[in-house]
């Protein structure tokens, strides 16, 4: 089990990236950033440069696959898709997230 699962912030970013890529199909870094902003209704603004260490790491872990292609405006970009291993990791992360938020919610309600 990769050790960073304990790191909630990184785990959250991983979860977001996996979820969005899984739903949308191949995206490059810029597109991914756009989708994150849309999906979170701009409430979660992240520094877009910080996506890349995560993308590299997740590719290294073989959760993602990167393939070079061209954007609509003809620029070279790497398009990321979720692999089978990535999908399994997504399920794991989602379950963890639900467990965590449930627990926190319950605690907030009864505190």
């Amino acid at each position: 089990m990769p050790k960073h699962t304990n790191d909630r912030l990184q785990g959250t970013l991983d979860l977001l990236i996996l979820k969005i890529l899984d739903r949308s199909g191949p995206l490059h870094g810029y597109g991914l950033a756009q989708r994150i902003h849309q999906a979170t209704a701009d409430s979660l603004r992240i520094e877009e440069g910080s996506l890349y260490p995560a993308l590299q790491r997740m590719t290294h872990e073989k959760w993602l696959k990167g393939q070079w292609g061209t954007t609509d405006t003809g620029r070279k970009a790497r398009f990321y898709t979720v692999t089978a291993a990535g999908r399994k990791q997504l399920e794991e992360e989602e379950r963890r997230w639900v467990t965590l938020t449930d627990a926190v919610n319950r605690a907030l309600r009864f505190a």
């Binding site: 490059h28 877009e48 890349y52 260490p53 620029r75 790497r78």
Partner: protein, 887 residues
Amino acid sequence: MSPIRRIWNVLRRRRLDEELRQEVDTHLALIEEEERLNGLSVEQARRRALARFGSPMASRERSLEAIVATWLENLCKDFMFAARRLMRSPAFTVAAVLTLALAIGANAAIFAVVHRVILNPLPFADSARVISLEDGMPSRNVPFGFNSLTTQLYYAYLERAHSLESVALYRIEDRALTGQGDPERVQTARVTPSLASVLRVAPMIGRWFTEAEGVPGGPQVAVLSYGLWTRRYGADPNILGRTVALDGVSAAVVGIMPAWFTFPNVTVDAWTPLSLTRASAAENYSFTGVARLRQGATASGAGAELNRLHADLEREYPGNGYSQLVAAPATLIEATTGRVSGALWIVLASVGLVLLVACANVANLFLVRSEIRQREVMLRTALGADRSAIARYFLCESVLLSMTGGILGFGLAWGAIQLLVAFGPSNLPRLTEVRLDGVALLFTLGLVMLTAVAFGGLPLLRSTPIAAALRDGGRGGTPGSRHRIRQLLMGGQVALALVLLIASGLMLRSFQELRAVNPNFDASSALTFRIGLPAADYPDRGRIAAAHGAIIDELSRVPGATAVSAATCLPLVEGCNQGGALFVDGQAMQPGQQPPIVLRRAVAGGFFETMGMRMVRGRSITRGDVERNEPIAVITEGLARVTFAGIDPIGRRVRFGNRALPSGDAGWLTIAGVVADTPVLALGETRALPQLYMPIFAFRQVPLPPRTDAMTFVVKTAVPPAGVTAAARAAVARVDPKLALAQIRTLQELLDRSSSQMAFTMVLLAIAAVVALTLGLIGTYGVMSYIVSQRRAEIGVRLALGAAPGSVAGMIVRQGGRVALAGIAIGFIAAIAAGRLIESLLYGVSSRDPGVFGFTTLLLLAVAIIACWIPARRAARLSPLEALRTE
């Protein structure tokens, strides 16, 4: 998996970074496009993009960090910087690497020898309990371990000695191996079947002998050595059950011993069972034995028990000398490594010390450097380098230095081992197996690590009080105590070098003395080889004598041969000696007095002339004597002295026997001459062993005649002796094509071999001494250079005030010379003490030989002065201006 990919990614870093750059650039461009659509200017869009993205550089950096093993990169970078720093000061680097290479190399080489020869000399299970049964009769000149057991003793030891678990007897014989291929003389050992249980060994193929095969009339079987099996039979796995003929007797091969099994010695190629029964136990002393001690028994305890047994045996078998027989069993390890092991330990200890000194030397060089670089380190510390970064800084250098030193040292060790194996005595166990194996490699690696930490850590300790160093401002205000430590270091290594120099000098002198011993025979240009006549073809003494005569005639016709003769045993050859009690006609034995044990040898005519042995009195044994079966004898001077003190022995009659035979005329030999003593087992024997020579008789002329079926031939040549080997072989084949030549060597080789153990110890000590001397030189030079560098300012002032350069140089040399002299004085005293330890290894030279002490002391003093003089001269040449400016 992924850590390995991270390490792999180190190599792909450039490509990965390029891809990231492309990706990031596209991303930034896309943001800019988007912001431009929102109506921003080019400049504003760019700023906006950077604000949204963050630092592109940091993003790329962290992305790479996520997938590349950056620790490895940093390590590589650290090492590269360290290598560059070392390259910038080549003098320091060469001195340090050389020092370490010498020390590590010497340690690895000596360790490899010690590991194999002493720590692991016998590959037998629980070998500490195996003892060699070394009996001897000191009162009758019979040395210990000299075929000194009888079969009566065997049964007595086996049945009555409680301290022994099992006992085995053996006798080495060379026999003719015939059938399939050329006939060949091979060394064989007749052994009791119990040998396997004493040594706890088993054949690698097949089986060992059964008890039933060890009784007279039992089946004829043989076990072959791995060497013979591969050499002669091509490692044929179907050899079992086939027969080989040894001396014409067919024996079924039942087993093959593993390659490492070389008992009793490396030359033995086959083992056959010794046929023995309780009833046939006899009284000839012709066997050697080994035994396994019972759990808890000691060799000395067993010795005491065996000596008590000897007293009982004297009552049971009177007159066979058992009461004079002294058992001195030693563990087989002691018996085989014995004298050398002491020397090896001494050498290992001294090279260990040498390594310590080397570390101290390099640490000193390092300190000199680190002091020069104190400012650099301070700067780094001030800029925020933490202690681990500083530690890396120094450790990288020391690891690089010791690794390079280790690799070079390993090469040196390899060379040294070739030298040692070449000089090694053949009786030293497993010496030929000495090589730089995994264990030696591990040992060397351990040394490298240790040295790296030892001298790399020192400057680290020194660099701790940064604040103090800052206060000093790097000025040359060195406290005296540090000088004192350096001088101690320098004096210490001078002392150590002197001890080792003296020890190796003493060995060298012993070696010279030993080689100067007159063996009383002329070893120049003579070829020797042994020929044995198989009993099946040569069943009686008549045929044997005729064959030897015919072989000598054929050999005489070999071109280049000037004289040919033969004897049952040559000087300095083991395994062919036959001894017996000698009685003198008309010399009454006092009650309790025992006749001397004398080595008896049969010779062909002209033996003494061919060997260049000097006749002291009377005449030698001629060809005519042999042909007429003349009952005459030639005795050695030593025998004449012992037995005929003050009387002319010529014309007296002597007779061999186990006890006094009834007097009469039968079997007497008349002494015709006296020949000078020749060494029997080793050069420089403390006592000349008495020997008696008689002609080869064609019939049983005397009681206990020496066995003449195997004889060693000596061919004196006018050409280099090795060149006539082929012709000699052809000459022998003309007499009988089934005969094989064995133990082919020149007399000179025999002589050389007898001093090989001394040569070996000498080479060992010489290696240690050369290393110590070189290190002493480098070390002294290093210390003096440091002192000079620290005194630059003072020297500058002296020169500026008008001191002559010569007097400045003299001052420095005097300072170093005082330390060197102190070291020499200590070394001198230590060498006198150490001399005691090697006393038993010396020959013909006192352990306090003034010549050796004087010469080595002067040599070392000269070396020390040179090492001081070079930095001193540099100091004297200093320009005062420059010296003062650097302050």
